[in-house]
Amino acid sequence: MVEVKIGLEIHCQLTGLQSKLFCSCQCDYRGKAPNTNICPICSGLPGTLPLLNQRAVDFASMISLALGCKVPDKVMFYRKNYFYPDLPKNFQITQYNAYGITSIGVEGRVDYGIKSTKIRRVQLEEDPGRLIYDTSFYTLIDYNRAGVSLVEIVTEPDFAEPKDVRMFLNKITSIIEHLGVGDTKLDGSVRCDVNVSLEGGKRVEIKNVGSFRDVEKALGYEITRQKTMSVRDIEIKSETRHWDEARKVTKQSRAKEEEEDYRYFPEPDIPTIVLGNEFLSSLKAKMPELPDERKIRFLREYELSDHVAQVLIDNKELADFFESTVKIYSSSPNEIANWIVSDLLGFIDDSKREEGSLFSGLRIEAKHMAELVKMIDQNIINRNIAKMILGQITKTGEMPSYVLDKMNASLIDSKAIISEAIESIFNSEKSAVRDAKQNPNAANFLLGKVMQLTGGRADPKIALNLIKTKLAVLE
């Protein structure tokens, strides 16, 4: 078995902020007309100076603490110099670990399941603008995103399997969401570079995997590719590849650019930021509950099973939904949690999970879930009916009691009534009845006719049973 080493570089926008990292432009650039969310500072006009957003420092410090990192007493910003049209100043203001100065977080550790991964560093930096490769001759530039706060999280190459990476990313997502510093569901708000090497082999970097879901796929592809090459004795080169989202493969990047020298040096326009113990303890006091703490509370307060609690806290929306439901109906937290984890999750369209809210397209709210579980507890409905009702309310947003009433009113489950309908169909559809006698599948045709006659209100199960019985006794 060849050992695989995987490391990650995660970029996460601090969308929880109002304004950009160095100016007062909106952090929320999405959906705006190109180059309208800009000012002299973030478009790099001559003479402008960066004005550090203190809340971004708070947020980045919170992330660092949540990832178990050391936060230094003093932090500085550095300039990373390179020419690229999406950079208004042709340098990026970021952080750098050198000469005794570190970025905002270093040497952390994140546990997930029974495994853990070391965090090399967390740094705060500005997002570049966006290049839009028009189908025509031109490349267009939109600076609306330029200057949005970005936190870069770099792990040690501690992962051995893609599924560990997935679990780790779930945890990171949940931490970011719990801290309220970013909305990871927004398009492009989290991006990931991964590096993969086989035991003793060269390191291959895969850039710009646009969503966490694709990370696992990209890794799967890349590991298979490298293993195949190694089996065939083809040398694996140290290179940068790109993830082709459409074809789900990694592709070699264009001709290898020469080794870039970023000429890092301290940003003179931003004075050194002093953090220190007082800052950190006041920050810790303000920090929201983190997923790990929340899980422990779920186990203690609601006596949930470890697995169920884990599934809930892995996704803040799910955990919030659970707690909102318990707030309305507090008698059966366990029952509520089980319904959420084993049934409600089934209705969630997996493909949509990364695009919008977990519940996007579903109309269910906590009050529905609360009433549903209450009705089960009171023996008003059994589990099967509850499942049918759940399916209905996710689509319509109606209260379970209302759905139940409607079902009672509309469904014809009286055998007498249904038998009457069957009798009349058997009389009018003689040849179909003969066919059905030979071929049981044709019975569905007769059922259709019965449903038609009853305006769709007959209970189809009862109707089909009655049809089959009648066919069986027919000579």
Partner: protein, 495 residues
């Protein structure tokens, strides 16, 4: 109406207009006439805003007539170095790269001047992106020295000093990265100040070397410079490197920012003066002679003057140029002609080749500094050059700090040589860099330094430099004002 209003100091202009001795419009029309008449010879202005100046003068006169409030600089004609952003007025840094560039915002100092009702008459010539000591590296051609138009005016704020000396405006703003205000002030026989780093907002000053530079006032007298400092100094929410520790400050009505308040009182009683030996002895004898005789006169009053030594001075130039060029290489990277700049068709260019094509339009000196600056920051050389330069800077700071435990002010020549003829040093960059030896210390240490006229040698001006500890502008003004009254050489050139 007096005939020579343009000769007045800013102080006299402000009170003359306030007391209705003459109107702002009368004064401004004389100033504009003066510019029209002599700037062809001097070339201090790169643009004159006749219409804006006339309109502002009209509105000031109206407000004075109506008994409304006017600012402390009401009516005073000011010129602005063309690397300070003025909303709606072209700001070019005397570079092809910013040809036609009109900033959409005012630098903080410009906002403050406008609040004080100063009249901005135009933009002033400089070395391209403030890189130079003679104003010869300007795309508009060199500024000439009003005392002898065959001589350089100094730089990089050549236009700022020459315009004041030639009576084309009452005061001006320059910027000083390694002596760029003091050098031309000395060469043109006017007063020029480089404030403490962080004392004046740099927001809107087009960066050459951010950790060294400050905007600085130029005037005919110390009193005028104090008046201008009171208008422009103070903390600014748009520049996080600004600070103030002045004892007396007044709050800004619009924000949390504080404005220091400086006063003018001559005071040299018990002042401890250190004469920086290395710099006086290293100067041209014509220069040091002037300095010695000024100090002689000065020390007859109640102050203690003695020779002192600044050993770290030998690292100053190397440290200064390494840091300045490193920062410049990064600051000037943004000029790629994508978002603003001169007309150039990008069609059929891949962006990298387009950048290369348009960036070839920087002048020779700017290119030299970008290349050297990139080199000293590059992997493998960073420790050898940039980091070493920072260490030297720290040493200089420490030594300066310890000198100010012994002395209230340090005195040196502003320039080691007299003004020289055009073309004399332009082909030898190293020779050109060496003339900054007396001024760079103040920038490296972040301390305030002022140049005041102390005499002439062969009809060419000599300036004396006074340095004080950081945030000690008041001490600087006290001593400079005493010197000014003792030496008393104020006169104007015949043009």
């Amino acid at each position: 109406m007096p005939n020579h209003l343009y000769r007045l100091t800013a102080d006299q202009v402000a009170s003359g207009i306030k007391n209705r001795d003459f109107s702002a419009q009368e004064y401004i029309s004389q100033i504009l006439e003066r510019i029209e008449k002599i700037d062809l010879k001097i070339n201090a202005f790169v643009a004159v805003d006749k219409q804006g100046a006339a309109e502002k003068a009209r509105s000031i006169d109206k407000r004075i007539h109506d008994g409304e409030h006017t600012g402390g600089l009401a009516g005073v004609a000011l010129g602005i170095k063309d690397n300070i952003c003025t909303k709606g007025l072209k700001t070019t840094c005397a570079s092809k790269m910013l040809e036609g560039y009109v900033p959409p915002y005012d630098a903080t100092v410009i906002k403050k001047l406008k609040e004080n009702d100063a009249i901005i008459v135009g933009k002033l010539n400089l070395d391209e992106f403030a890189m130079g000591s003679t104003t010869e590296y300007s795309k508009y051609g060199p500024t000439r020295n009003p005392w002898n138009i065959n001589y350089v005016a100094g730089g990089s704020s050549g236009g700022s000093a020459a315009s004041v000396a030639a009576l084309e405006c009452a005061m001006s703003l320059g910027s000083d990265t390694g002596g760029s205000v003091r050098c031309p002030a000395s060469f043109c026989s006017v007063v020029g100040l480089k404030p403490t780093y962080g004392c004046v907002s740099r927001s809107g000053l087009i960066s050459y070397s951010n950790s060294l530079e400050q905007i600085g006032p130029v005037g005919k007298t110390v009193s005028d410079v104090v008046m201008l400092m009171n208008a422009i100094a103070g903390t600014d929410e748009n520049d996080q490197t600004t600070r103030t520790t002045a004892i007396e400050t007044i709050p800004n009505t619009m924000s949390l920012d504080r404005i220091p308040k400086y006063r003018l009182h001559q005071n040299n009683r018990n002042i401890r003066v250190g004469l920086v030996k290395e710099l006086v002895e290293g100067a041209d004898p014509a220069v040091s002679k002037c300095i010695y005789s000024a100090v002689d006169l000065f020390s007859r009053s109640d102050c203690k003057c003695e020779d002192t030594s600044m050993k770290s001075i030998e690292y100053a130039l190397a440290s200064y140029y390494t840091i300045a060029m490193a920062e410049a290489s990064s600051n000037l990277a943004r000029y790629d002609n994508i978002r603003y700049g001169f007309d150039s068709n990008p069609e059929e260019y891949e962006w990298n080749t387009y950048f290369a094509k348009v960036r070839n339009n920087f002048g020779e000196e700017v290119k030299r500094r970008i290349i050297i600056g990139s080199y000293v920051l590059s992997a493998g050389y960073y420790g050898k050059y940039y980091l070493k330069a920072q260490k030297a800077r720290e040493m200089i700071k420490q030594e300066v700090k310890s000198l100010f435990e012994k002395y209230d002010v340090l005195i040196a020549p502003t320039m080691p040589i007299l003004p020289f003829k055009f073309g004399e040093k332009i082909d030898d960059p190293l020779k050109m860099y060496q003339i900054d030896i007396d001024t760079v210390v103040a920038n490296l240490a972040g301390i305030p330094a002022i140049s005041i006229p102390v005499g002439f040698s062969d009809c060419l001006p000599v300036g004396l430099q006074i340095m004080a500890n950081e945030m000690e502008e008041q001490t600087l003004f006290d001593v400079a004002s005493s010197f000014e009254s003792i030496v008393d050489i104020h006169k104007s050139p015949e043009i």
